[in-house]
């Protein structure tokens, strides 16, 4: 009995639990920075550790040691609490994703809805971060992030529900198992949904072309402007974990997720697929300029939302026709 509990604790804390997820966060940040740099004809992280792989960890540790400045006019409680919230929300959502086996650490029917909810909560955390800072740049950034969320939330929900409709289940683990047993990935079953998911996740992660809330050249660092030291370290960690979460969501729901291929363990194929999704994010990040908030809202509501509705409608027709 104690052996089972010890094993569960190991799973929760180490693999595929918190330690593993944090390490994946650092690894994914390194891959993103290296790939982004190589497209731009430069090296990216180079000196810390072999090929600079320790750079994200070094940045995190450095930030932990820096002075933590708190603006006098800010809302202290919220200001201190939001970084922790922002770092732990993606961690919570990652527990729902199947990593080491074909079931997540926590699984129940309806955890897809919890996932969508956590995506929304993350943006609320961003809003609160900017709002509690009481600085002009932060307020502009947080307002923009809320506007952005209002635009991408519905298409995001629709394209995540698409596979749920096809598999008749609201559980992520169930979707992964359906793809494994039917030998088909939703990547080619619902390609429009895949494209829309990537775009919406780019908006969720605030990556170019949608990094409007933290547009460096316009509003310094947007909602993150006033944070420094440990709080900024938490934000960076949260951002890395969010990227892992987004890549994992793409990998699990559209790319088949953690599936054992012969003797290769599921975790391995999961990491590969998540890295593939990450490379798509990085590549798109490198290709475009930043959009303006009104252009983004218009584009989302005029094009993306109708396309997402069309995808779900198409799916229903397909299901109705083929049973």
């Amino acid at each position: 009995m104690t052996q089972i509990i010890a094993f569960e604790i190991f799973e929760l804390l180490v693999f595929p639990g918190i330690a593993f997820m944090v390490l994946m966060g650092f690894l994914f940040e390194w891959v993103d920075r290296k790939f982004f740099a190589r497209i731009q004809s430069r090296y990216g992280p180079l000196y810390t550790g072999p090929v600079g792989i320790l750079q994200p960890f070094a940045d995190f540790v450095k930030l932990l040691s820096k002075e933590d400045m708190v603006p006098r006019a800010c809302d202290r409680g919220l200001f201190t609490f939001v970084p922790i919230l922002y770092a732990t929300l993606p961690l919570t959502a990652l527990f729902l994703i199947p990593i080491a086996s074909e079931a997540g650490l926590v699984e129940f029917d309806g955890d897809l809805i919890l996932l969508i909810f956590i995506f929304g909560m993350t943006t609320i955390a961003v809003f609160l971060a900017g709002w509690s800072s009481m600085s002009r740049f932060s307020i502009l950034g947080s307002v923009r992030s809320v506007l952005q969320m209002l635009s991408y939330e519905i298409p995001l929900g629709l394209v995540l529900i698409g596979p749920a409709i096809a598999t008749k289940s609201l559980s992520i683990g169930e979707i992964v198992r359906w793809q494994a047993s039917n030998g088909a990935w939703f990547l080619w079953l619902q390609p429009i949904g895949f494209a829309i998911l990537v775009i919406c996740l780019l908006a969720e992660l605030e990556l170019i072309p949608f990094d409007i809330p933290e547009a460096e050249t316009e509003i310094v660092a947007g909602w993150r402007t006033e944070f420094s030291g440990r709080k900024l370290a938490m934000f960076r960690l949260g951002r890395d974990l969010e990227i892992v979460l987004a890549a994992s969501v793409v990998a699990s729901i559209y790319l088949g997720g953690a599936q054992a291929i012969g003797p290769i363990p599921p975790a391995f194929s999961f990491i590969l697929k998540a890295l593939g999704a990450l490379l798509i994010f990085s590549f798109t990040r490198a290709l475009f300029a930043r959009l303006r908030i009104d252009q983004m809202i218009t584009g989302m509501w005029k094009f993306l939302l109708p396309l997402a509705i069309a995808q779900v409608a198409l799916l229903q027709i397909e299901l109705g026709a083929f049973g």
Partner: protein, 383 residues
């Protein structure tokens, strides 16, 4: 309980959008800018006074360091002014070499600017590519003049180094490479949808407004006018080289980008023509140490627009008064006009649109009558 409907957003003196420190206080209502108050003078170095303290030869190096990106323009303007004061003229070959260096600098400055405007729009990859290619021009400068940024090519009475046939062939190679790259940039600027969305229709400056507010350079030429000092008032060898002033009717940030990119191609043509037709002969005449009492105004077309130097001599080896009016200062009123009524997100693109070089610009001297006391430089208000 009334809340103000506008908030004041400060841009600078330290801001990621500005490469040099200046202060712009924006009044923002929602996402629209309703007012702007610029405050300039953060890079004031007392250069005009420093000019009076050195001899003409020493001041040449001071003029070179007014700005890092337009050094050749400043030294060309300076040497022209001082040569006029002294009553000497640079030999024809020196004039051609000055033209080549000035046009190479235009290419370098415009490619730097295209990178900057891409960065302001969030288009970082394009920024990196442009600056990578710009290295070819910087290395060329190092080979020709001994320095990447500060060329020290112009001297009073001519130029200090000659362009050998070897140097000429190096220039041609770099120009061929750069022409291909510039055509590629033009293709990207014209077809990249996200970039077009950020620059098309942004920062409209109507032609009559541009003239009334005193805009110069590519900012003016992007509003339909064809004013170019190289054509209106030819200096060095421009009178003998046929070329066009590039202008565009768009009046927006996209036109300014296209005008500068096409000016780069035009500069490449000018340099090729100058290399082909370069006269043989001396590159320098001896300059006297002392200039007879006189005053003169010298104008050149710096990469940013019309640059004016005024010099007054009094028979000694040092100038009595030297004034520099750089193009960025002339563009500030039109900048403030275009900065009202826009989205907050358009601010950096419009700011970058005039190609601001604040270190060139800050040169206000406020005389205080009766001695003593200080006076606040009045804030520019454009309405």
């Amino acid at each position: 309980m009334g809340y103000a409907s506008t908030i004041k957003v400060p841009f600078g003196p330290q801001h990621p959008a500005l490469k040099e420190p200046e202060h712009f206080l924006f009044e923002v209502e929602g996402d629209t800018v309703v007012g702007v108050k610029p405050r300039i003078g953060y890079v004031h170095r007392g250069m005009e006074k420093a000019f009076e303290l050195g001899t003409y030869t020493h001041d040449l190096y001071l003029a070179e360091r007014i700005c890092g990106i337009c050094t050749a323009a400043h030294t060309t303007c300076y040497t022209q002014a001082v040569e006029e004061l002294m009553g000497i003229e640079a030999p024809p070959r020196a004039k051609y070499i000055r033209t080549i260096i000035a046009e190479l600098e235009r290419i370098q400055s415009h490619s730097l600017w295209i990178g900057i405007v891409a960065h302001e729009a969030g288009f970082d990859t394009f920024f990196m590519y442009v600056w990578r290619d710009r290295e070819a021009v910087m290395n060329l400068f190092e080979e020709l003049t001994g320095g990447r940024v500060l060329h020290a090519m112009n001297a009073i009475g001519g130029v200090r180094r000659d362009i050998t046939p070897e140097g000429a062939s190096k220039i041609r190679k770099v120009l061929d490479y750069f022409e291909g790259r510039t055509k590629e940039y033009l293709r990207v600027i014209r077809t990249e949808q996200t970039f077009l969305k950020r620059t098309q229709g942004v920062g409209i400056l109507k032609p009559n407004e541009a003239v009334k507010l005193g805009a110069v350079g590519p900012t003016l030429r992007a509003s339909g006018r064809k004013d170019d000092v190289r054509i209106d008032d030819p200096y060095v060898a421009y009178g003998e080289i046929p070329f066009n002033a590039i202008s565009s009717d768009g009046c927006d940030a996209l036109s300014r980008t296209l005008v500068r990119a096409e000016e780069m191609i035009e500069s490449i043509r000018i340099i090729r023509h100058a290399l082909d037709k370069m006269p043989v002969g001396a590159i320098r005449v001896r300059a006297p140490k002392v200039a007879p009492p006189a005053e003169t105004v010298s104008r050149v077309e710096a990469p940013r627009g019309e640059l004016i130097h005024y010099a007054r001599s009094n028979g000694t080896a040092k100038p009595e008064r030297y004034k520099v009016r750089s193009p960025t200062l002339a563009n500030i009123p039109s900048l403030c006009k275009t900065l009202t009524g826009i989205h907050v997100a358009d601010i950096p693109i419009i700011l970058a649109g005039i190609d601001p070089c604040f270190s060139c610009m800050d040169r206000l001297l406020v005389p205080v009558k009766g001695g003593g006391g200080t006076r606040h430089i009045a804030k520019l208000r454009v309405g």
